[in-house]
């Protein structure tokens, strides 16, 4: 670009000089005609370069998601979901249950399966398995709930 601009400035300065030094007469007419062709050539020379710039203007910038940050946030959401499920079970009379969530792999957080350890829950019996599973499923929205350590 800078070289092209310098060549334009140069050709215009040459035109001024030509105006000054050319003697009047027929020679001046032909000299000016030749000069006009040179001006057109200089002005049109970068057009091919400009057209190629259009092709190269794609940019290779890609906006990528920070997976380590997502992992940190989802870990915290998982912890708070586990606390929430345990609180829901306590509210329903099942104190001491431990909930462990397994989330689906992927960019979105989605609890897929929950394991509930009822070994420390004194009020939970084998017959309460379905109720506990139902509470946890509705609280977390997960598809599968497994109960461990239930009493007879």
């Amino acid at each position: 670009m800078a070289e092209w601009l310098m060549s334009v400035v140069g050709i215009v300065a040459a035109g001024v000089l030509l105006e000054i030094i050319l003697p009047p007469g027929d020679t001046a007419k032909y000299a000016k005609g030749a000069y006009a062709l040179i001006v057109v050539l200089v002005l049109a020379s970068p057009i091919a370069n400009v057209l190629s710039q259009f092709r190269t203007v794609e940019g290779d910038a890609t906006a990528v998601v920070d997976d380590s940050f997502l992992s940190e946030v989802y870990d915290r959401i998982e912890e708070s979901d586990e606390e929430r499920a345990e609180t829901a079970l306590s509210a329903a009379g099942f104190d001491g249950c431990k909930v462990n969530i397994f989330a689906a792999a992927g960019k979105t957080y989605r609890p897929q399966r929950a394991n509930v350890d009822v070994s420390d829950c004194k009020s939970a019996s084998d017959g309460d398995k379905d109720e506990i599973a139902e509470i946890v499923k509705k609280c977390l929205g997960c598809e599968e709930v497994k109960i461990y350590g239930q009493r007879e």
Partner: protein, 390 residues
């Protein structure tokens, strides 16, 4: 008896209120902790480097460094903002007017000198001597104008490159925050649009539009040196080409970002609301507090997303305002001098000055369009995925 029952009722109401207040306070404290933790986990290094590259006045107008600005916005103690940026821009505008005044006076003096010399040139033996004098005076005026235009063009290029760096630092973070709030459809729709803006659109401005502006300006100046070399139509073509590229690129971009942002956010809002409803509907009395567990972590991400969006939008305004003001002042100054020299000087002077003033508007439009596109993209991201969570 009745009095005893009334006192008992009052005590129960007081205890319930205290319980509610303390529950609200603990939720607020937990939210604040979540916000702090989320902010620490977020990698803001690229954006912080961009903020460090700003001058002290601009940083102060934006509220200090990036993390402080976000925390202050969330606290409600943010002391930066539009009024500080306006003050900064006004101070700069005053300085720019003073600088431009010097240029205007110089060009006016040269044009005046030329008209005096032209009046004396009738006594010269040869016409070529008059032409030489005209050439020298015009070249002097053109040099002064080109030095000024060169400085503002450099600032315009620096601004465009700075905005490009800001976009490349900001967009991955915004997409990450959108994804973390469950806005995967919005993030998927916005990712190619943001890549387009920080890649192709930004490159089109720095590689095509601004160089065309520089070329048109230079042609506009040198094309008026000699009456036998007429380049006004060519200058007009270069200027129109720059405006056409700008209009095409940004028109397409704004269409894509608006459609992508709206459709993505509708899809996400439905899915997030469905998840929230499932939790709340199970426990009708305690659902509010228990579903807060889901909300507090996501709410902290949403708060950071929105305040980051606000800080970035203000940063763009601060970055773009100064060069645009300088371009506007330069354009107005050149138009003023063109009007003042037209009555008594050669038509080449006023033609050169007015052509240069017209071309400068292309650079200003390019910077404003780039800044506006960035703000539109940010606002679409900020406005998304709030309804389902808050």
């Amino acid at each position: 008896m009745k009095r005893g029952i009334l006192v008992l009722l009052l005590i129960i109401v007081a205890l319930l209120s205290a319980g509610v207040c303390s529950a609200e306070e603990s939720v607020e404290e937990e939210l604040s902790q979540n916000v702090e933790q989320t902010l620490d986990d977020l990698d803001l290094s690229q954006l912080e480097r961009w903020f460090d590259s700003l001058d002290e006045e601009t940083k102060a107008a934006l509220g200090g460094d990036l993390k402080s600005a976000i925390e202050a916005l969330l606290d409600g103690s943010y002391d930066g903002g539009a009024d500080k940026i306006l003050g900064l821009t006004a101070d700069f505008a005053l300085g720019s007017v003073t600088d431009m005044l010097a240029v205007c006076v110089t060009v006016f003096a040269i044009a005046l000198l030329y008209s005096v010399l032209a009046g004396m040139s009738s006594s010269f033996l040869k016409k070529q001597t008059s032409e030489l004098i005209a050439f020298v005076c015009f070249a002097a005026a053109a040099t002064v104008v080109l030095v000024r235009v060169g400085a503002v063009a450099k600032r315009a290029f620096d601004c465009a490159n700075s905005l490009n760096s800001l976009m490349q630092g900001a967009f991955p973070i915004v997409l990450t925050l959108l994804t973390a709030t469950g806005g995967t459809a919005t993030a998927s729709a916005m990712a190619p649009v943001m890549s387009l803006l920080s890649g192709a659109v930004s490159s089109a401005v720095t590689a095509i539009v601004l160089p065309l502006f520089v070329a048109a300006t230079a042609i506009g100046v040198v094309g008026n040196i000699s009456p036998s070399v007429k380049l006004d139509k060519f200058r007009s073509f270069l200027s129109s080409a720059a405006k056409t590229v700008l209009a095409a690129v940004f028109g397409l971009f704004v269409t894509l970002v608006t459609i992508g942002g709206i459709s993505g956010s509708i899809a996400d809002s439905v899915s997030i609301k469905a998840a929230k409803f499932a939790v709340q509907s199970y426990l009708p009395l305690l659902g509010g507090y228990l579903s807060d567990g889901l909300d507090l972590v996501l709410a902290s991400v949403v708060l950071i997303k929105n305040s980051l969006g606000a800080v970035l939008a203000l940063s763009v305004v601060a970055a773009v305002a100064v060069p645009v003001v300088e371009l506007a002042v330069t354009s107005l100054g050149l138009k003023l001098v063109a009007g003042l020299v037209e009555p008594f000087s050669d038509s080449r002077f006023s033609a050169m000055l007015s052509a240069t003033a017209k071309n400068i508007s292309v650079a200003a439009e390019a910077l404003i369009a780039l800044g506006a596109a960035f703000v539109i993209a940010m606002m679409c991201a900020v406005a998304s995925c709030n309804a389902g969570v808050i």
